[in-house]
């Protein structure tokens, strides 16, 4: 029998569009910390089903912008969905632990949504994206601390972080390589879709923080 050790017992399941947005956001601002909000619902078995992601910032997140962004995201997603977690990718390559501010924000989200998840991006894994590697690490709240969720035993067959549509990883890998020096200026390569976070939006409100163009892109494949 598989004993659940953590509050977010059943792990996290990410759909294609949320993964694309998270990874493109990280790739777009590879020189800084990136963070964003995960949206979805609670599935059966205590699994968190993530259906979309809203990139928040590529700077240190401060309260006023966080509150304003959360307010708009909640308004946008309506009653059928809720904010279920937070993702973050640190600035340094081998730094995959949430810092103080990240933990405080995750705490805030967890007060609204118990069992909310904190997803840290595994920076090194971004260099070798494939449809076999999940480049995220799940943190769950144990008491007052955020701890890495231990992997379930292999016999249970479930991963802590699951990506429902792994084929998007190939697509994202292509997008990311189009921004490298080999791809830059190369008109044959498909261009990475732009990804807008609230930081960018507040500098220019004509930029769409919902990134609905990415939803359309992924849904039509």
């Amino acid at each position: 029998p598989n004993t659940q050790h953590n509050m977010s017992g059943g792990g996290v399941r990410l759909n294609g569009v949320s993964v694309v947005k998270i990874l493109l956001h990280a790739s777009r601002h590879s020189y800084s910390i990136v963070s964003g909000v995960l949206v979805g619902r609670k599935g059966g078995d205590n699994v968190i089903v993530v259906e979309d992601a809203f990139p928040l910032a590529h700077t240190n997140v401060l309260a006023p912008m966080f509150e304003v962004a959360m307010m708009q995201i909640e308004e946008y997603i309506g009653k059928g969905s809720q904010i279920v977690g937070y993702y973050c990718g640190n600035e340094l390559l081998d730094d995959t632990k949430p810092n103080l501010i990240t933990k405080r924000i995750a705490d805030k989200i967890a007060t609204e949504t118990p069992h909310a998840c904190l997803l840290m991006i595994g920076n090194r894994k971004l260099g070798t994206l494939s449809n076999e590697v999940v480049p995220f690490e799940l943190y769950s709240k144990h008491g007052s601390e955020w701890k890495v969720s231990s992997s379930s035993s292999p016999s249970s067959g479930s991963q802590q972080v699951e990506i429902t549509d792994l084929t998007v990883m190939d697509k994202v890998a292509v997008y990311i390589s189009s921004t490298s020096s080999k791809g830059a200026g190369n008109k044959q390569q498909p261009h990475a879709p732009s990804v807008v976070d609230f930081d960018t939006h507040f500098d220019d409100v004509s930029k769409d923080w919902t990134n609905s163009h990415i939803n359309k892109l992924v849904d039509t494949k």
């Binding site: 401060l62 309260a63 912008m65 501010i101 200026g185 220019d204 409100v205």
Partner: protein, 320 residues
């Protein structure tokens, strides 16, 4: 390290014109022009610099004359951002041959160490340079970078403070220090950096904005009121394109009304002022925001913003 002239702002479409020109004809003058403008505008577009700079230098360096060394340096630095370090090593060797023993080239060597993850080695090289010239700003800043890269935030903060005692006019360094403090959750210290920046440039609306954001994050009635003042002043300095200040003003009003609702039973802090009771500032801010969204051609986003604030207002009132 590159030119010490202030950055020339090159709009994106202008850069695109240079890219298109270089792509179309692949003539060396077009490639050179692209690199020159990227260098002057100090944009970090490393992938472009490498893509066009390498063929430029490998095939046309003789045509560049004595200017070629600036380009070698530029492409070397850009190549450090990419995965292929053989280019970096090759160009560093060329520069070393041309300028043996040069301090400037020693700094480039140290940067290569950094790019290859050899931070301790880079650090030793920078310390050696600082021994010879304790006021070498570039070496000191790179040294701070090696601390950051090794996750040694304490030393990064210390050295940045030392640097600022010498170069107190370096506004980027003050911002960097604030950012380091924020990463550690040291909001008060981060705020004091922005106090310095405001003193140095009291007409710069951005500094008031950042100060307000930090102070708001610290929380509490006095800080919300302080933030409100600074958001208002930022808006005075820049009315046309200051969405963050508008959002900030609205947020302050709701934060203050929430605090007051909470305190009413406890009879806590000083009496709420007219704005905190009536929320006129918030109404004004939301109205201006709606206009800004409409003017930008995205009224639907403006609607989300407006109805979101409506909900915030009713929730703040409910708490009474």
């Amino acid at each position: 390290m590159a030119s010490h002239t202030s950055p020339v702002h090159v709009p994106e479409d202008k850069v695109q014109k240079y890219i298109d020109a270089a792509e179309r004809s692949k003539s060396w003058t077009n490639m050179r022009d692209l690199l020159y403008y990227l260098r002057r505008s100090r944009q970090r577009r490393s992938e472009l610099v490498v893509r066009y700079g390498v063929p430029l230098l490998d095939q046309y360096s003789s045509k560049l004359g004595s200017e070629c060394w600036d380009y070698y340096e530029q492409v070397f630095i850009a190549s450090l951002d990419g995965p292929d370090q053989t280019i970096s090593e090759r160009y560093l060797d060329i520069l070393k041959k041309q300028f043996p023993g040069s301090v400037r080239v020693r700094k480039l060597s140290a940067m290569l160490c950094e790019a290859q993850g050899r931070h301790a080695e880079a650090s030793a090289l920078y310390w050696a340079i600082l021994q010879e010239d304790p006021a070498d700003a570039f070496a000191m800043k790179r040294q701070i970078a090696t601390f950051k890269a090794r996750g040694d935030v304490a030393n990064a903060i210390d050295l940045t403070n030392t640097y600022l005692q010498i170069f107190m006019g370096d506004v980027e360094a003050w911002s960097e220090l604030a950012s380091l403090y924020l990463g550690q959750g040291q909001l008060k210290q981060a705020a004091s950096c922005y106090e310095e920046l405001i003193l140095s440039a009291p007409q710069n609306y951005l500094y008031y904005l950042r100060y307000a954001e930090i102070v708001y994050t610290m929380g509490g009635t006095e800080n919300f009121r302080l933030a409100r003042k600074y958001y208002a002043h930022s808006l005075e300095l820049n009315e046309r394109n200051n969405v963050r200040a508008l959002y900030g003003l609205a947020a302050c009003t709701y934060a203050l009304s929430s605090v007051h609702q909470g305190h009413r039973r406890g009879g806590g802090s000083s009496a709420p002022d007219k704005d905190e009771l009536g929320g006129d500032l918030a109404v004004y801010a939301v109205e201006r925001l709606t206009q800004a969204y409409t003017a930008a051609g995205v009224p639907e986003l403006g609607r989300v913003s407006k109805s979101g604030f409506e909900r915030m207002r009713t929730e703040a009132q409910k708490k009474s």
